[in-house]
């Protein structure tokens, strides 16, 4: 191997090492700390939180005007003066959820196994729930897919690590299967009940959970990623037909079910902006966008901002 060849090889390799490290270093230097927060105030009326694409930072907007910037998260939600921020960490396949109060102080950080998927806070701000998923990672063979949903109680410090530890009932009988997965928790106003999706053997159910006796009761099939309306009477969710999901709203008391005017495939846990409007994320022009649609099946979807994970309270 000639000397000039070695020199040429090492020089070219050095160029790519320098280019890779240079770009990485420049982007690290110009990135603010993930936890930095300036100006998100949960007591501002008529505002919405969402995650900005590109930077992954939480933005607070009133109409089109940005009024606050929060930490970097994949998913955000806020209610009752508590903000929950779910983000991926430096450990492969791991996430953490920060529970943050109105002043921006982190009350609690929980370490989770899996990529971020959903996060919710109860109307009182006392309970937080998250879903993480494990799929398509390089250590496990492709095709393996599972989710874990957990709840944390800020009042007592109780950590319900996984809904899989609860007792599930289908048609009144205890349901046990190793392939059970849970996702998409939404809380009732009483801080005792919640709803979520349970999946097993290719089926999904809407389950009503009870924190006190750690039980889950299946109510209805094919209801995924439920989201309880502010008045507690309806559940917005995604209804699966074949390979696509469509947003529906179910009236809890009567079982009346309507499809919303958004006809595109939606894979998100919807969030209520008000008692008559549902917001959600969908792909728009190669990046995530936040849209809103009337909750009664009328009207048309309209785009609010480029971003994901809308939250209002």
């Amino acid at each position: 191997m000639s000397r000039s060849r070695i020199v040429a090889g090492i020089t070219l390799i050095a160029v790519f090492v320098a280019a890779g490290i240079g770009y990485l270093g420049w982007r690290v230097a110009t990135t603010q700390s993930a936890a930095a927060q300036t100006g998100v105030q949960l007591d501002r009326p008529d505002t919405m939180l969402y995650v900005e694409p590109g930077t992954n930072r939480v933005r607070q907007v009133r109409g089109d005007a940005v009024v606050g910037t929060g930490p970097a998260c994949q998913r955000v939600y806020a209610s009752g003066g508590t903000m929950a921020c779910l983000r991926a960490t430096a450990v492969p396949m791991a996430s953490e959820v920060d529970l943050i109060d109105t002043t921006g102080k982190v009350l609690k950080t929980l370490q989770l196994w899996g990529n971020p998927s959903r996060v919710r806070v109860s109307p009182s701000g006392k309970l937080a729930a998250w879903t993480v998923f494990r799929s398509g990672d390089s250590y496990l063979a492709a095709g393996a897919f599972s989710t874990t949903a957990g709840i944390y109680d800020l009042r007592s410090g109780t950590h319900y690590g996984s809904l899989e530890d609860f007792t599930a009932y289908v048609d009144g009988r205890p349901y046990r299967s190793v392939d059970v997965n849970y996702w998409g928790v939404t809380f009732a106003a009483d801080d005792a009940r919640f709803y979520a999706t349970m999946a097993s053997k290719g089926k999904t159910w809407l389950v009503r959970g009870d924190l006190a006796n750690r039980s889950l009761t299946a109510l209805r099939e094919n209801v995924e990623c439920p989201s309880l309306s502010p008045d507690g009477s309806r559940i917005a969710y995604k209804f699966r037909t074949g390979k696509t999901w469509r947003l529906h709203v179910l009236t809890v008391a009567t079982g009346a079910d309507i499809a919303l005017a958004e006809t595109s495939h939606i894979d998100d846990q919807p969030a209520w902006l008000a008692d008559d409007t549902v917001a959600y994320g969908k792909q728009d022009d190669g990046q995530p966008g936040v849209f809103a649609v009337p909750a009664d099946g009328s009207g048309q979807p309209r785009k609010l901002v480029a971003g994901s994970s809308p939250a209002a309270w």
Binding site: V17, T31, M93, S135, D137, S138, G143, Q287
Partner: protein, 414 residues
Amino acid sequence: MYLSSTRAADTARTADLKTPTIGRSVSGTVVALGLVSLVTDASAEMVTAILPLYLMYGLGLGFLQLGALDALYTGATALLRLAGGHVADRLGRPKAVAIAGYSLSAVTKLGLPAVGGSLSGLSSVIAVDRAGKGIRTAPRDALISLSTPVEDLGRAFGVHRALDTAGALLGPLLGFAIIAAIPGGYDVVFSTSFCLAAIGVLILVFFVRQPPTRVSRAAVSVRAALKAATAPELRRLMMAAGLLGLVTVGDMFLYFSVQRTAGLPPAVLPLLPLGTALTFMLAAIPFGRLADRIGRWKLFLLGHGLLLAAYLLIASDIEGRLVAAAVLLLHGLFYAASDGVLMAYAGPLIPAPLRATGMAVVQTAQAVTRAIGALAFGAMAALVQPTLTFALFAIALAAAIATGAWLCRPGAAR
């Protein structure tokens, strides 16, 4: 110790006689190829690891699309592997074909951000990346075997596989570290991955020597390849390796079963493959040397014996972390004793001008039978208890090992 050092001295002398340029240590070409695999695997695995996050949060795609891409990811590269091997021999330039394969995958690291959220664009880019991997594997293994004296093949493949596995372990760590330091910094993951892949190509271009081979059209025709592939010794090897592949449980099933029978929380599932990979990485070189000393086929069969022990541990349905640790250790040792060792054994059985084709055929036979084995296990595990399935597979594996020992016994008719 005494025995081994005498033997080492012996082989060193013969090696020096045959190829005076290559010393006792593993040749620079093999180390360079190992480094190529290290940076390339790190480059590939860092993208694979953050791809779900990128698709969901960078692009706003959903779970179902993710599943479709996943299936594609594992899609058939078998045909391309055969084609890559044959073209390498046909041109007499395995290095050139390997460069093409590595370059193809490197370019896709820039293609991923370029296609944005287009699902068909993403599928095409991922398919091209897999194609690159398929094309380069056999020429690369041919290069290793052609630039190493026969006596040292086990060690050479051990060195390569250890470096290769180290890259696969590093990649995801690097990818997630970048995303944590730069939230939403998928562009940085892609640029870093591209630079690593480009460095891999440069090491290959500048520091891997193409071993001199004579090419004659007749020697590398499809007919000659078919004839070489069906030569009695290679045919026996493929029958035995294929039979063992049929009774090899898919990795994913093994991890799921270990997690359940050992009573571990599902959250540790992503960590289990790390146990296998770490063991594989650490044991690859010593096992390669052992293969050179005691016989490669013997170690290949012994490795399957270790896998058999792992099956029996799972079938015994004993709870506890120790059982899980033991299974992962055995599983990692099985890889160290079978993956590179099989190539080291197969190499000398294939005429040098057809080395890449022959290795591609052996690898494909093993990959296809393992895929069938995984399907069979899945189907059976759906019918009966997983532990019982493992017991049945253990019996079948024992029979396959015995058959393998008989098929490739020393002195079997040529």
